[in-house]
Amino acid sequence: MTQKNDLTSVTAGARSRSSRLSGKVRAALTELGFSAFAITLALVISALLMITLGYDVGLAYQSMFRGAFGSLRGVSQTLLRATPLLFTGFAVAIAFRAGLFNIGAEGQLYWGALACALVALTVEGLPKTIAVALPLLAAGLAGFLWGAVPGILKARTGAHEVITSIMLNSIAIFATTHITSRYFMAPGAVDQTERIVAAAVMPQIIPGTGLTAGIFLGIAMAALVAWFFGHTALGYDFQAVGRNVDAAEYGGVSSKRIQVLAMGFGGMMAGVAGGIVVLSLLNRFVANFSPGYGFTGIAVAVLGRGNPWGVVLAALLFGALDSGGMSMQLFARIPSDLTIVVQGLVIILVAAPAALRAMVRWRKPNKVEPVDVA
C-alpha cells in the first residue's frame, strides 16, 4: 500500500549546478501551470453544468469574482475563509512530504478547537498576546497528540494511516460532542461551551470585516514550513522517508520516528486551524462546527502540490470560491453549493496528472513532468 510521494518534483538528478536554480523555478512554474489548468477545467465543467440547467454563466462567474475580490469586504471574506484552510492544508502537506496521507485533519481540528476553547475560557486578566497564544498552543498540542495516533499505529502495527485516520475523525467528532455536552455545556439547546473571555478573542485587522490576524499567522507558518523543509536536518529526514523508506533507513534515519512526528506535526497544524476558528470566528467551541475544513485541506494540499507557498495560493483560491459563492447566490440566483462542485472537480483533476496530460499534449522540452501525487 505504500505509495511514493514526490510532490516537489525535484527532477534534476543529473542537472548541472549552474542551471539548478532556473530548473527549480521552471519546475515550480510547471506545477503552477498544471494546477491552474486543473482549476480552469473544473470551472469549464461547472459552466457546462450551469448552461445545461439554463443558468447565466457569465453573470455567475462575474458575480463570483466580484464577491471574492471586488470590495474590501469581499477580499476580507476571502482571506477570512482561507485562514483555516491554510492550516489544514499544511496539516496534509507536511505528512505528504514524509510519504503519509493525513486524512484525519478533520478530527485533529476538532480536538484543537475544543482544547483551545477550554483554555480560552480561563485566560481572564492575562495580557492580550498571552491570552491568545496560550489557547493556540493548547490547540496545537491537542492536534499533535491526536495526529500522532495514526502515526504510532502505522509505525508499531503497520495499520494504514488513511483508514485509522478516517475512524479517528468520527471518534473525535463524537468525543468532543460528548465532552462538551456532558461537562462544559452552556445553557441552551445547542451543544456548545460558554463564550471565551474577551482577552482571548483575536483582534480584527479591519474592524467590521471579521478578518483577524490569523491570516498573517498562516503566512508566517508557510515561511516556517518552507524553512523547515529547506534548511533543517529533520525536514530533510522527513523528505528522505517520503521518497524512499528503505533508503532513508539505510542512511540512518528512523522512519518510524519520522512517521510519528510527521503525523503529529500535521495534527498540530490542523489543531491550530481549529483554534483559529474558535478565537476568531465562533468565540466558543460548538459541537459539529466544521463544514469540512479538514477535507478541504486535502484539496488545498494537493492543489498546492505539497509546497507551502502553493498551499497559500490554493487556500486563497478556495477562500475566494467560498466568499464568491455567496455573492453568486445573491446576484445570479445560483445556489452557492456549486462552489463545492468546483472544489470536488479540482481535487479529482489534480489527482490525475495523466488525465490532464491526455487532454492537452504537454510536451516540455526539458521533460519536467507534472508529478504524480501518488
Binding site: 505509495q3 495499520a159 453549493d337 489527482a351 488525465a355 491526455a358
Partner: protein
Amino acid sequence: MWLEILAVVFNLRTLNAAIRMSTPIALAAMGGAFSERAGVINIGLEGMLLVGAFAGAVGSYATGSALLGTLIGVAAGAATAAVFSIFTVEFRANHVVAGVGINILALGLTTWLMQVVWRTRGISPAVARVQSIRVPLISSIPVIGEVIGVQSPFVFVMIALIVGGWILLFRTPLGLRIRMTGEHPEAADTVGINVRFIKHFSVILGGALCGFGGAYLSIGNIGRFSMGMSAGRGFMGLAANIFGQWNPIGGLGASMLFSYADAVQIRLQTMEIALPHQIIQMIPYLLTIVILAGGVVKSRPPAALGNHYRSGGDA
C-alpha cells in the same frame, strides 16, 4: 435502569431495526470489498451512497415510480464509480485523493441539484417510496417472524446480493480473477487476465451496490431526500469491510454489529435513559482500529491495494 437497558438489548424489535439499518452499510461494505479485492482503495463509497440516495429520490419524483427510482439510483451509483475508476485506473490518480474528490463532488452536486430541482436546501418533498412487505409464511413464525417478517424489500434484496456477491467473489472464475488482480496484478496479467477490465468491473459493481444502498436511504425508508443524507454510512461501510475481512458476508456481520449498537443507542435515547450515546456511536470505529492494528485477529488487506499497474502491452 439496567433492567430497561437489558430489555432493549435483548429485544427482537431492536434486532429488526438493526437489520434494517445495516442495509446501506452492508451494501457499501460489499462495494468496498469488490473494489479493494481488485486493488482499488475506495474512500468514495460515501459519495456513491449519497449520489444513489439523491438519484433514487429524483428518479422516483420524476417518474412517480419507486421501482424506476431505485434503478436510477443504482445507475447513478455505478456512473459515479465509473468516473472514479476511469480516473484511478486509466489516469492513475491517487486512489485516496480521487476518493476524497468523489465525496466532495457528490456532496456538492447533490446539495446543489436538490436546490435546482426542489428549491430547498434541507429536505425534499415526499416522493414515491418502496413500502415494507409482510412475508406471508415467515411473518407467522414466532421469533424469525418478528425479526424479518415485516421488512423493506430492500432488506431481502440486500441479503440476496450479499450471498450472490460472496459466491461471485469466492466461488467463480471471475471472482478468482478479481482477487488475483488485487493480490498480484503482474501475475494476473501474465496468465492473460485483463487487469484494467477487472478493476473497472469491480469498482463499478461496487458503485452500483452503493447506489442501491443509497436508494434505500431515500426511497426505501422515509421517501424523501435530505442534504448529506448518507451521513457517514459510507465510512462505516469502509470500516465494516475491513472488520469483515474484505468478505461480503463478513461485511454484513460487521454492519449488523455496528447497526445493533446504533439501534440500542437510539432506543435508549428515546426512552431518555442517560447513557452517553456518543460513546456507543464510537464503538464501531474503535473496534475497527483495534482490528486494523492486529489486536484481535491478523487482518491482511489485498497485497497490491492502492498500487497502479501498467501492463507491458499498454502505452
